[in-house]
Symmetry: C2
Subunit: 359 residues, 2 copies
DNA sequence: TTGTTGTGTGAGACCGGTCTCTTTGATAAT
DNA sequence: ATTATCAAAGAGACCGGTCTCACACAACAA
């Protein structure tokens, strides 16, 4: 265990081969676990490797085999519990299959997402899992496909891209949630999302390039209209991109005389901030305002009252998409699959009849 | 844009060189951005590269340079908001400096941690950031050091290992928190941690091999003893390793006749579960039981009452440790630094005087 | 004995970059 | 005119593995 090597040049197959008095090829066979070698020689090589504390250089290995054993993952923001849980699902599935995960944040910005994808391809990841932040510009995703690497989509589908995709039925579940609100008697229901658009004002679905959110808004508006609500789109609010922005949006929404009596929040980070603003303004849930949010985050069950949520199977979402990708990595030729995971609503205490302020 | 290449062999420097009518070396100089090349030739090569849609193979590049541009990170559990926020800090700092992050979960299990470290070294990461799950067996960390790669420690210090380390003053802050409880009049204070030990029962500090937790328990016991509390260690509870286990521990703790009047939780995941159990048992906070937790997680500010927390600068913890590591990667020769970030307590509404049950 | 088959080993090309060393030709100095 | 100097380009080794191919030798069948 003496450390007389000043330059830490690492031990290579050749070094081991020399020590074991065999050719480089033979040592490589033993160390790499391929080809045929006699038991005697195998033992010799193993002994030499152990004595020298040989560690294979995965980089070199990847270069010749073309396989890196790494799955690249590009998500919007790991800090968002939705993504961190999904990533957990991905990692678990990956590790179980002997793969590693390299993670990149896009911050939901398309240029960052593109750069991340380019970088991961450069690193020769075996496959990629992406939550595409936009459906408009997907050239980089096409590139992945073209480079021969499998791609799988998480949480957001892209109609034009025929690849393995795992999502939930966003439209359907948004409809169910909205119906709960409408059935409770609400006529002024707001939908708040982080997605932004030009002008920051909602005009129509064509502005929304994040598939999951478009589906949700579509479902939301459909049910509102079915319930005879006039111009429900006036309560759709975009651009809750950060806690500060969310607070601004929520403040504006709740300050006017025609404030909504119910809010549907597009994710738990937004809902948390809305909850705070509601509290801060002295409003009560559900007496003054009802609230439903996507994602059954930790905090939603411990507030008073606890929040009614759309319980997306987030961990399973990540796990499934990773499994689909890995199946493809192993050469499965089946056509691309579009998995839609079942989602439920956990009714807790944040929905009530609308306040009779206007009566 | 035609796709007449059936076998997707990627474009290499040689291909570009051939197309631009220059030598491989010259093309490499342009593409790799090193050495000197005349402007004319540079333009030719760039044009050829663009025409062929050349993408450098980072793997090959890493192999010759010995640098991969990747920082390996091994944390206990990304799903824990503490770690996901810290990882966010690390990623941000890494990206700002042009590095990427490859993430591994240890699940706080030493064998998994070792495997992860071995794997990351094999992948030739430039440096590693680890939250060591144990202080007993750190041979794998010594190996990193010996392999010439810098190592930095996050959240947990290792006295025997002289490397860059970023922590908080766990002992001091635990003392402050405990004092708040003691000053409020509590004599039966419990400390609940995820760390487990042989026998699952706390006996003495020597059992605890996670430095941060040992420090905290030490601080906790010191203040208890100073306050004249008899055998405070009888309320130290180990092994809250999962929500289910935490619930078991909390249930047992709160069911006996000598249940504590205050609880100090070692992390927010544990605290959340304890909070639920308290609620479920019909106990009130802070009337029946006071609660303080480490980590200012989302949910702690929106409960009723909101929870008093130890606000660790988690994002900064991650950011700092990454910056320290990157400084080292860039060849800074300064001796290893041990950074201790300031921590504060956010007093909210979960601490009150003890219930007078026993009077 | 000769031919066939098969097993274990060695030699060396190869992956796609980087980098050192050499060569070339133009310009400056003598 | 001759030589020194230098910028720009080319040739080829190298990183540390994998993998193809050739070959030696043993066992077996004819």
């Amino acid at each position: 265990m003496k450390k007389n090597a000043p330059k830490t040049r690492s031990i290579t197959v050749s070094d081991v081969a020399r020590a074991a008095n065999v050719s480089k090829a033979t040592a490589a066979r033993v160390l790499g676990g391929y080809g045929v070698v006699s038991d005697m020689i195998r033992a010799d090589v193993m002994a030499a490797a152990k004595a020298l504390d040989y560690r294979p250089n995965e980089l070199a290995r990847s270069m010749t085999t073309g396989r890196s054993g790494i799955i690249g993952v590009v998500v919007g923001d790991i800090e968002n519990p939705f993504f961190s849980l999904a990533v957990r699902g991905i990692s678990d599935a990956a590790r179980a299959a002997g793969f590693n995960v390299i993670l990149a944040n896009s911050g939901e910005r398309i240029e960052v997402e593109k750069a991340a994808v380019r970088l991961l391809i450069g690193k020769r990841v075996d496959g990629l899992i992406v939550t595409p932040s936009e459906s408009r510009d997907i050239s980089h995703l096409r590139d992945i496909h073209r480079s021969g690497r499998p791609l799988a989509l998480l949480d957001r589908a892209l109609p034009d891209l025929d690849v393995d995709t795992v999502t939930v039925d966003d439209r359907g579940i948004a409809m169910r949630a909205t119906r709960i609100l409408a059935d409770a008697g609400h006529r002024n229901i707001a939908y708040v999302t982080a997605v932004d658009a030009e002008g920051h004002e909602y005009r129509d679905l064509g502005q929304i390039y994040t598939s999951s959110v478009r589906e949700r808004i579509d479902g939301f508006l459909t049910v509102c209209r079915d319930a005879g609500i006039d111009r429900p789109e006036k309560y759709v609010r975009l651009g809750a991109t950060s806690p500060a922005e969310t607070r601004r949006v929520a403040d504006k929404l709740l300050s006017g005389p025609d404030r909504p009596t119910a809010i549907l929040a597009s994710d738990s980070v937004i809902a948390l901030e809305i909850f705070r603003v509601i509290r801060q303004r002295g409003l009560r849930i559900p007496e003054d305002i009802s609230l439903i949010t996507f994602h059954d985050a930790d905090w939603t069950s411990v507030t008073t009252p606890p929040i009614t949520v759309i319980d997306q199977p987030v961990y399973a979402l990540g796990k499934s998409v990773a499994e689909l990708l890995i199946r493809r990595l192993k050469g499965d030729p089946r056509p691309a699959e579009r998995l839609i995971l079942p989602t439920s609503i956990v009714e807790r205490g944040s929905v009530g009849p609308p306040s009779n302020r206007e009566l």
